[in-house]
Subunit: 226 residues, 2 copies
């Protein structure tokens, strides 16, 4: 049973949404403004958040950024409810960090399908634990911490995302294009060689465990257990 937090100031709409989601077997919690939303996100630890872009008191985008920044809420997927014409690009992009969006007015059918899709996507990504162990390397996505041989290592956010992507798919080769897309985002325009530099930084910081990152010439990189 998944819990969904609905942050939406129009009570009628919030109620309608909750009603339909509950009909599909989800548990729903409703918050009517940003502050309350943030609090409930922390308290209830929902599996997904439906967030209205226009909220009294706090912009939905700001709230989303906050959620994605805070340690204990950052891994919760967020679906934005936007009115037509609002800057959708930014919302789903890296700037705000929402995982999907639905444009108002939406059919309940569409909303439910989106919710299912996002939950499925996240189930795959977070399958197994939030702590992954490959050889001497341990990565804890929820605490945002990496350790090699028990020794904690400080990574920057880009480095962490890159390493996380490699760890999630360890053994499998990831091309530079794939890494750019999954770490830097779809809209990233720039040199694919940027990946090289960051791989170097990872290797350096990881010390002797650095050679677990293998270069596959002509294809990309992969992480291998030793």
């Amino acid at each position: 049973m998944h819990t969904i937090l609905v942050i939406e100031d129009e009570r009628d709409l919030a109620g309608l949404v909750a009603f339909n989601l509950e009909k599909e077997g989800y548990r729903c919690v409703i918050a009517c403004d940003g502050i309350q939303g943030l609090e409930m996100a922390r308290q209830h630890n929902p599996d997904l958040i439906l967030l209205d872009l226009m909220l009294p008191g706090m912009l939905g985008t700001e709230l989303c950024k906050l959620l994605k920044k805070a340690e204990n809420t950052s891994q919760i997927p967020v679906i934005m409810l936007t009115a037509k014409g609002e800057e959708i690009d930014k919302v789903v992009g890296f700037e705000v960090g929402a995982d999907d969006y639905v444009v108002k007015p939406f059919s309940t059918r569409e909303l439910v399908l989106r919710v299912k899709a996002v939950l499925r996507r996240f189930a795959v990504e977070t399958e197994s634990e939030t702590i992954i162990n490959i050889g001497t390397v341990t990565i804890d996505t929820s605490r945002h911490v990496v350790a090699v041989k028990g020794e904690e290592i400080a990574f920057t956010s880009t480095e962490f995302k890159l390493l996380h992507t490699l760890v999630k798919r360890w053994g499998r080769v990831q091309s530079r294009d794939v890494l750019l897309r999954d770490v830097w985002g779809y809209n990233y325009v720039g040199d694919t060689r940027t990946v090289d530099t960051h791989i170097t930084r990872l290797r350096t910081k990881m010390g002797e465990a650095g050679d677990m990152i293998k270069t596959v010439r002509g294809f990309g990189y992969k992480l291998e257990e030793r």
Copy 2:
């Protein structure tokens, strides 16, 4: 080799898109209006369709619905090209049925990445197998690893692609021309004898399993189970 149908009335844009996709190794077919597009989709059976939302004569959305309804085109993924502000929600939603969209103006990088992502998504659904076993030889494309009798062997990128092509079509003779096209790319200009050299390298590295690669005098090479 994937074939992509580009349905776009602005010939300049269509040409540019095709140019960039072909640079990435895709084959492109261009249609300049809806009717032609529908016909070419049926004829060429492309692996993916890039469809402009605004077309003279027939709306892109209508065309997309038609494609998704017809039996022999319904399984072809469609990426919509939309101008900002057009109703993206409907397009990718369930009403129209497109599989993804790109907002104009787009960078070629983004387009190519979207195309790759969609094709990969569809490929996963259709083939699934990344590990192939022929006799004592195992090839794992996702991990980019080849093993003979359980022993891992390091192959260079060209060698790997060549072996993969042979393994994929084991038992069937592949002419040098076909191998050149599928491994080196269809626009490769050079000596067909290059293939010979690489076959030799494969045989050497594979050890006693090397004689699974048979020379078919006057035709080409094939891989045989022993």
